[in-house]
Amino acid sequence: MNQEELNNRLLEIRDKLIDIEHTTNNRIFLPCEAENNYDVCKFLFEDLPLRFVIVTGIDSDNCFEVLYHFSNDETGHVVTVKAFIRDRENPAIESISPFIPGAEWIEREVHDILGIEFKNHPNMRRLILSDDWPEGVYPLRKEVQK
């Protein structure tokens, strides 16, 4: 799939996105609300299809951001779905592990260190924190870092 095709196909899900940002010549950001993230990722992974790379979690100013990175290997584009979770008290997002098993571990890691709940995740156990780490303390949250 070349760049033009990719740009055209991305317009099919334009109504679920806040914006389509072409920041540099090989990065595309798709900011969206957390509720639409599942559909957008499913579209990218199953309909286009793009290769799933990794998930990043960020404790942003007044919300959490979960970034799902997908790669279009033919052109070298990285398409990033940037999902905003506005609820800081009980942050939750729909898990993409049911259709991308490769995302299982990285979602567990994001849950460990940022405390974001991934709904319908098949196996949400502790992954990287030590066994004696207290429950409910998330080390990369801003209030813990201070």
Binding site: L129, S130, D131, D132, W133, P139, L140, V144
Partner: protein, 139 residues
């Protein structure tokens, strides 16, 4: 103490290292450096060891394991923290999972432990050999 001056058998403990120091330790055993000619031998159990080569910052998960390994080592033994992380936690200082450095954890268990530092990121095999020689000639 005289037992430490002949053939020193070492046990290698990784307490959260990035593997670079571990590779350099293995490098000491290759034909190029061949530390077995000095009688230094890597063994598979701390119960057979005279010295511990500890790499890594000592993470929260690894600290009790390091103490277990130290308790199992016959005394007297020498602890060698290998690399910048093991000596002083290096670039990981203040990390949420870091409880090290190595000497702090060992001293909590045994205040009179013999500890000899080999800094570097990673230390060269020459540096490790020199560290072992200096430490053993000092005791």
């Amino acid at each position: 103490m005289w037992s430490l001056k002949k053939s020193v058998w070492v046990f290698h403990v990784n307490t959260g290292a990035c593997n670079n120091c571990d590779i350099e330790i293995v490098n000491c055993l290759t034909p190029r450096y061949d530390i077995e000619r000095f009688g230094i031998k890597l063994v598979g159990s701390p119960r057979h060891a005279d010295a511990l080569l500890v790499t890594g910052v000592v993470t929260r998960q690894a600290a009790p394991r390091l103490i277990d390994v130290y308790r199992q080592t016959p005394k007297p033994c020498v602890v060698f923290p290998i690399g910048a992380c093991a000596c002083d936690t290096g670039i990981f200082r203040g990390g949420y999972h870091v409880v090290g450095p190595v000497d702090k954890i060992i001293r909590e268990e045994d205040p009179n432990a013999i500890i000899a530092f080999v800094p570097g990121c990673p230390p060269k095999p020459e540096a490790m050999i020199s560290g072992v020689v200096k430490a053993l000639s000092a005791i």
